[in-house]
Symmetry: C2
Subunit: 113 residues, 2 copies
Amino acid sequence: MNEEDAERVDALFHALADRTRRDILRRVLAGEHSVSALAANYEMSFAAVQKHVAVLERAGLLTKRRSGREQLASGDVEAVRSVTAMLAGLEQIWRGRITRIDALLEADLSPEE
Amino acid sequence: MNEEDAERVDALFHALADRTRRDILRRVLAGEHSVSALAANYEMSFAAVQKHVAVLERAGLLTKRRSGREQLASGDVEAVRSVTAMLAGLEQIWRGRITRIDALLEADLSPEE
DNA sequence: ACAACGTACAACTGATTGGTTGTATGTTGG
DNA sequence: CCAACATACAACCAATCAGTTGTACGTTGT
């Protein structure tokens, strides 16, 4: 894993580590929403929501397209999948550990061959 | 999703949003390691690594057990899976969007029924 | 017994975060 | 044309973060 990849993964997990951003992501995965339409759902200021959208965008979890004076945000499911893939990698490492433990137990129970 | 759940998920993603912590998690998923054995792999101070381990522990991604003067850390794959499950939920929401779009296209192509 | 080891924790620092308000710029409807 | 709308961005603030050093305390091997 090189430096760039690590930074990208940092950004992905960081973006997901905030409940407001996760909620925004839910909405934009379900369909396009303008930034102000998203902002209407939260107590905080418009600017705060706009920043959250920007964090998600920098992480690649959503993209924006202009439509007149609105900016429509849309979730990118591929980015979500890349996170899932990374976690699957971790799980695979764990599986290797279990396999090693099983092998040890096996060797213990039948020490000769 | 209630407050507690949200906090737990916050902690999980936050813990994963640091490359040193992800590397530590990789190692402890592969097998038990003492905190100082882990610390030996990084340039930073022992205390810094100890803090990273504590963050992972608070998030539930690893557990420690004492063995003499050492503290052995072990990765918890169930916590990793809970993150995967949460991402699968997001992907499911996205799938619903596609289904809706398909339905619209369908209705468009065959407007009577 | 005691020096070295493994760990925990407090206090400090600089950087980053999540939030605010205010200002500027482009867009649209009447 | 112009008022209202949608967005962007800068400056600021309090809180948190990732790192440091220093101190304290239990454990172990000789």
